[in-house]
Symmetry: C2
Subunit: 574 residues, 2 copies
Amino acid sequence: MPRVISIDIDKSTHHIDIISENEFLTGGRALSSQTIAQLVPPAADPLGPFNILSFCNGILAGTTISNANRLSVGSKSPLTGTIKESNSGGTFAFQMGRLDIRNIIITGKRSDLKTWKVIHISKDGVHIEEGQDLATHGCYAKSELLVKRYGPSIAFAMIGPAAEHLMRSAAIAISDPQKQPARFCGRGGLGAVMASKGIQAIVVDAAQTSPVQPDDKELFKDISRAVSEQINTTPQTAKVFRTYGTAAMVDVAQGLGFLPTRNFSQGRFEYVEQINGQTLVDTISSREGEGKISHACMPGCLVQCSNVYPDKFGKRLVSPLEYETIGMMGPNLGIGDFDTIAELNYLANDCGVDTIEVGAAIGVAMHAGLADFGDGQAALSMMKEVREATILGKVIGAGAETTAKVLGVYQVPTAKGQAFPAYDPRALKGLAATYATSPMGADHTAGHTIRSQVEDHHSAVGQATASKMSQIATLQWDSLGFCYFIGSAVPDLSQICDLIKAVHSHEFLPEQIRRMAIKTLRLERDFNRKAGFGPAHDRLSEYFHISENVDTKTICDIPESEIEDLMNDEKLSQ
Amino acid sequence: MPRVISIDIDKSTHHIDIISENEFLTGGRALSSQTIAQLVPPAADPLGPFNILSFCNGILAGTTISNANRLSVGSKSPLTGTIKESNSGGTFAFQMGRLDIRNIIITGKRSDLKTWKVIHISKDGVHIEEGQDLATHGCYAKSELLVKRYGPSIAFAMIGPAAEHLMRSAAIAISDPQKQPARFCGRGGLGAVMASKGIQAIVVDAAQTSPVQPDDKELFKDISRAVSEQINTTPQTAKVFRTYGTAAMVDVAQGLGFLPTRNFSQGRFEYVEQINGQTLVDTISSREGEGKISHACMPGCLVQCSNVYPDKFGKRLVSPLEYETIGMMGPNLGIGDFDTIAELNYLANDCGVDTIEVGAAIGVAMHAGLADFGDGQAALSMMKEVREATILGKVIGAGAETTAKVLGVYQVPTAKGQAFPAYDPRALKGLAATYATSPMGADHTAGHTIRSQVEDHHSAVGQATASKMSQIATLQWDSLGFCYFIGSAVPDLSQICDLIKAVHSHEFLPEQIRRMAIKTLRLERDFNRKAGFGPAHDRLSEYFHISENVDTKTICDIPESEIEDLMNDEKLSQ
């Protein structure tokens, strides 16, 4: 049975519990949110002693099933003040699974923030060790130090220097298969929570263990073969994601006019052809060396939407270069070349900050006149200020909303204090509903609607319903510990249920998964209500309700009654 | 009948209404909060087009009755996000009264923030004029420019350069009898709201009008003579306030251990004798020249708690030097000399920022290590950065809570985003209840308890009740347009009712005043609930609930049930 490891960082103690029978089928976001709701007083200061961190994987973690090894990190967010699940690929959840761990809970607050710790977990147990030597290094250097100290078989969850300064855009970097700090629990500033507890890194090492073996090998082989085949033949996964990665979205965004351009003033970018999916593929292909068009972020993934972007000399510059970063550090800053965007991305990763949040914050700073839109050198210099933790760097690192407050900018792309990802909600209105109502604040991964059955993404009609359906569907995948990119290839959850049956001999029905998702959404909303959130917070920053996206001539105009309906817990299961 | 002037700043239009009969007895905070609740959507962005400003005086404004000419400015606060009444002495409310104006309402938002306006109101009407030449000047220079342009008989409400940068600690400077920008609607950042509407100053000129004359001259003479006598014979008003001003509080604070020292770490200051009331009096007295121990901030005031602090050469440095500023820019920064505190105060006034908020923010910055506590030159340099609107200056100008967010400081003295004034709520626990529950956020003037009948200011017993009584009592004075410093000399409101009868021939009973106060408190709370505030916000920042004031060994421990009770609208009239 999977285990729950609880670590009290004040006392340097831990204990290990076996997960309860009726929690066996609870994983990912369902489990992390349940843990937060149980253990964190809703009004707690996110960077105070009463907040906790919960690292959860899914029910099939530790197997090599494609897309099954996502990590959910739960906490109360210092960026939004809400409950938060920040989700990442990488190798951490997989190794947790191999070690038969479902949940790692960190409680307490180090009183002496001048010393740092590393938590090391292997089959030999849990050890809290000195981590002083890791401090102040960038994430890339830190990951090398970790591999040097703990060997090549580790996975890690790690903070960067931005978190050490308690910046509220600070992420938790997660190792990819090459031990690069390439995957991120980016949203919500959970890196700052980890730093507030004095933890530089959690290292898991599944050496001398094997991937989780299925109870029913035949059934497992049949279903996993079928799933693989579906992934390999569905155009979205086999072609679009595998070839272009998420960068395929650039042209869609330009077409529909939701590409965030110059602090979300425009929805289309005149230099879009320099930064779209095809140009990305062409650029990577034309440069010999370490570049890769397709790359798996976690063991067993067949979608391989990740990539490795090389510099002009073919050296790995950053991995992956994704749509969100392209949008927020490209057009949103008026920047139209991949090399600058990739360099910004590299610096953000090295600092350990969310590229969405910091991209939005730099956009706000440019809006305030600190630099011209399109000035890549100025953007790079601001990113370096984040790395050096200058006052301006700390302002930007505090996120878009704080940057706007400090610089006196009204046009700030946020909901519940968190920056919009790279989708202007005035031109992709399902996301207006999701940004406004998700317990997470503005987050496309909490209920995307780009593939929802709506008549017109520019119209408010049907968007609240589309958002609700997508919020629940996403929560299902997040709670199973799956990457939701599998969705187009595996539209029917009964195949996942069959896999669970094959691996664990547990019956789990699609309807139960749906109930788990709805229960989680209710519980997250309940936490938020107790933390002080109400209907007044279920909206975007005012500018987007009254000012048009100049390219689409649309504003956020989803009727308040539909937002209220969407927030009605009773109606969630309808 | 008093008039309401409504100005639409977008359209440069205005209209004038006569106040309705049943609003005749509503003034000050009751009227400003009623205006905000009626006209501002609770979820509006405080610096967006839907917020408004309402300048209200009291029922006896325009008369020369002592303490009767306070100004209440209402708005939705960009600092707290709550409804806000920011209160000031000075000459503005008096001249409004002489012009028979009860309320000046500003709506709209200038689209072009590159140009500035001045509103001029006299018996010749309302004129919206160019104010471009005022921009970027400090408040002292601006006030001279205004007097030069409009003549010596004016009163003004004016923003400073901090407001031009939309800093959320920006105040509205109000003229004193010497046309100095010496009185401030300091709390809540309402200067930034005024700036967001493109208004540099509102000038009122009551030239060629007379003070309001009573209907019943005999009754008026009797009562006002009695009130004057009481003020002149009550020790608190005639001696303590008149001699020492509010600086008398320094020794009380030291004695009880609530003197904020080094970012509210301690409650007693080792250099207290250098900055107490006696030393203030001695210093002013020993320097020949423009210094004054007693000074009236508004026409007719007999209390004269204000003062004029001269520099070493006898030149006026700042007026007044008050307890709040002494506490927040003295001990709170570890600074123990009046000349430095007065210089900080002068710079803050010239910028047009709240000395409490900025004092707290500099304390947080020192806590973060930006300078050593006690380094007066460093504090002055930070104030200059506010004046120059550098990035650090803007951070500090954004207030203590934003400063703490940017610099990663957990120990931040705030409630609902507003800095504690100079009373550590762990050692004056009635103020813990007031800070936590006042619709205004942390504000001693919203319900002071230093003179409440409680057994022990260090004990939680009875404090919620004391706070409730004081919140209502203060609201009575604020809604009458009176300075509540009259309270110790005029404990019985029936004298005020007699004055109203003498001046306006209106019957107004103490019980009606009380009902007006309670109605206002309910209405403010209702606005805040709709703006997104709930029980989770009715507390201080977490640090103060769990960490002791090292001198008194006390924490904020008012039982949650008592806070809930205090917030129960049904129980307000009990």
